[in-house]
Amino acid sequence: MSLFRRFSRNRRYDDISVSIQEHLDERVDELMEEGLPRDAAERAARRDFGNVPLLRERSREAWQWQRIESLLMDLKHVFRRLGRSPGFAVTVILTLAIGIGANTAVFSVLNSVLLRPLPYPEPDQLVSLRLSAPGAPGLSEFRDELRLSPSMYFTFATHNRVFQSLGVWNPGSASITGFAQPEQVDTAQISGGILETLNVPAFAGEWLTAADQDSHGLGRVMLSYGYWQRRYGADPNVVGRTIRVNSQPRVIAGVMPRGFKLLNYDFDLLVPLALDPVKEQLAGFGFHGIARLRPGVLIPQANADIATLLNVWMDSWTNGPGSDPHFYLNWRITPALQPLKETVVGSIQTVLWVVMGTIGLVMLIACTNVANLLLVRADARQQELAVRSALGAGQWRIARELLLESVTLGLLGGAVGVGVAYIGLRVLTAIGPGQLPRLSEISLDFWSIAFTLLLSVLSGLFFGIIPVLRYLPSRHRPTLLGAMRTSSVSRERQRGRSILVTAQVAMALVLLIGAALMIRSFLAMHNVDPGFSGPTSLQVMRLSIPATLVPDPTSTLRMQHTILDQLAAIPGVSSVGFAASVPMSGAEPGWDEILIEGKNYEGESPPMRLYNFVSPGYFHTAGTRFIAGRDFTWPEIDSVHPVGILSESLARELFGSPRAAIGKRFREFESSPWHEVVGVVQDVHENGVDQVSPATVYWPSLDADPSAPAKVSTWRNLYFAIRTNRAGTQSLINEMQHAVWSVNANLPVTAISTMQDIFGQSMARTSFTLVMLAIAGAMALALGILGIYGVISYAVSQRTREIGIRMALGAKRSELVWMFVRSALLLTGVGIVVGLGASAALMHLMRTLLFEISPLDPITFATVPIALVAAAAMASYLPARRTAAIDPVEALRAE
């Protein structure tokens, strides 16, 4: 209420008082003129006027918003009543605070990740340029998309009629020198069109231009806001300065604003891809593509346009002389564009909806518990309500008061719940599961608060309406008399609570089955042999030697070998090795086919295989077992001897058995030298234990360049694996860094972690879902047990007299205990039947989250109900046992 209204209202009140006072005075004067003495006149005047304060109040009411004032009055009563039973109030408010807080937190995550638009202008126009290639053998089983090749980018960018702009990009890394210590930073290599598509203006300076994309020049770079802050201390004059990227000086064109990411990728540096159309071929499917649709264009139209352009692409490019450009028809490449948001959000969508549903269910259970408490409370007030009703209080008036109390409780719980949610979100973003996209965008915004408010009011109404329906005094049910003297609680009265408890058991069962399925999935994932062993004692670091620093491949290999020797010399290190990719790191060094000796490939395309490039000792260090044959040797590598190692599944596919593969020969192109299979290693789950392990070819890290066999090539971006019990300690990390710097002080080291961390990251989605479901399941179980306990102990206390009579008539104590336990088990049984039905219907929603476990897993569906029955028996036995302590004489005398 504004100050003005208040002020004017007070003036009105004064006016009324003055008027009435003058009225009385004038009347007194008149009466005195008629001859009455003053005191008699005053008495008469007042008597004639009536009740002065009441009249004043009535007159004032004209200026009041009457409903609100009387609501405020009721509210005052509500608080007074709650204050009188602080235990009840605190229990209810805390229960609700946790329930509402958890819901608000999960909703905020859901809202920020799934519902809120992407933080780019006109985000609805943004699509990711996905292609699917169901006919590309090897690749399609391992990945559900075909990435773009540079030649596709050129074709699409030149000829499309549906996009305002499009571009391709790739995550990468680069070493930055020229500061106190060399540093490896995350880069995003972008083609022209990427910045135009996302359309977020530079924070300082300007975007990269077409000139920066010239493959003959050394284009400028852009900084991320975070890197600008961290490395340049937010120096405003940074634009135009040079930065040494991979030992080359590059000019800084600008700084992107705070929070700008490439989809989910949080880069330090934007580097132009500088693709050269002259050098590009059809192949090179390694790039992510994004595009901005023209206004009004829909995805199906864009798909159709890209489908035509794929033919243009095959007509206009080649894979070199002698190759058939229409070979890719076999791959059945089709456009599968999707809204960019779906790409950003990814598979987390299911997880979040499942968690939201779970937490919502917990809230429902919490509400039923509160409703139960309110029923007991209303029981105690029944007589008061009956008296008030008899004195003329309307039904609605009493219902309003009861509902006001429950809604107030709901709102108080919601207010505390916002605090709970705030803390929960802080914790979540701090420990955040790394795979949760848009983590940094998560916040409590207007919608979260609105959601909380709505949830508070609705839950208040929900658990408030139950006692209202139950106890609203009606003319047909006189409750004023006799209610307190019934010898036993009426069945009808007990029934409300029984239904609530049954519902609780059913909901708890659903949550527990969900949690149990996740636990079984988690265990199943842990039972999978990932293709390496002892991840806790396996230290991993990434190191790349840019060609600008050491141009010659042989010298590069020598430097890598020296670093390996330095690392091996660290105390406590038992073995070392390196590879172009370690499992679950997300690095995919390459995909291509191999041709095996003696097989005619006329008219068919061999499947795509994953390539990796390894040093001798890598498999031993990682704990990847040899099924047959042996490892590479350093002399083989140094002399560029053509050898190779295959994964077990690949060896079986090509040669029937791992043993048969040894000694056979294969190559990448017709022109490349034959490589002899010297070893076969177990399958490695490159993309996580829940993913298929791809057929993999391991090449020596220094090898003849497959496209130009006269030259050698080496892999420059490596993961070093170090087997030691000191893995994960800071002292080891320091020693590793010094070992590297002792070889070359310009080499930055990054991504230092134990294999266990990488492993854990790959399980993050499952463990996140598991933890959330387990928490929800535990809460549901606790609340459900509390509900059963409450109902039985209340029934025992209400039926004391009945128990006394039964005992007096000769009932055995054990029979009485059983009577209560049986009633609890009956409720549980009904709840379980309902819950099993609901679970069977709901669990298929979790199908994609489960691993090697059916959503209707019989073991889970059998054991969880048994456990629940046991818990219910326990929860009812404890209060029921109290009947044994009842003295029949005392019981009969009760009341």
Binding site: E22, H23, D29
Partner: protein
């Protein structure tokens, strides 16, 4: 709250009309209104204080009346009520509708007699 059983309760709206009609003659304070109505109606009608002041406030709120500080006949500070333009219009409308009602009322009474 009828203090005098001789006086019948007025029908709804009658008090408002009387107040408005009285104030149309000249602005008055509360006690003046009571006296005026009593006088004009030859003691047949008596306004009860219990209804008068709430009614005045209601009409103030609805904008039919205005109040200002003033001095009573005996020289005491009080509030003087006067009609606003909206009050005048309201009164005219009400009077028309009352007259119609009375006409109907008396016809029914006449028919009953016949």
């Amino acid at each position: 709250m009828a203090k005098n059983p001789e006086h019948r309760d007025l029908f709804p709206g009658a008090l408002e009309i009387m107040i408005l009609q009285s104030l149309r003659l000249k602005p008055m304070h509360g006690y003046g209104l009571v006296k005026h109505i009593k006088q004009v109606s030859d003691n047949l009608l008596q306004v009860e204080e219990g209804s008068l002041y709430p009614a005045l406030q209601r009409m103030l709120r609805e904008g039919l009346l205005d109040s200002r500080e003033g001095i009573s006949a005996k020289g005491r500070p009080t509030r003087i009520y006067e009609l606003t333009d909206a009050g005048v219009r309201h009164l005219e409308r009400e009077v028309v509708s009352f007259e119609r009602m009375f006409a109907g009322f008396s016809r029914v009474l006449a028919a009953a007699k016949a």
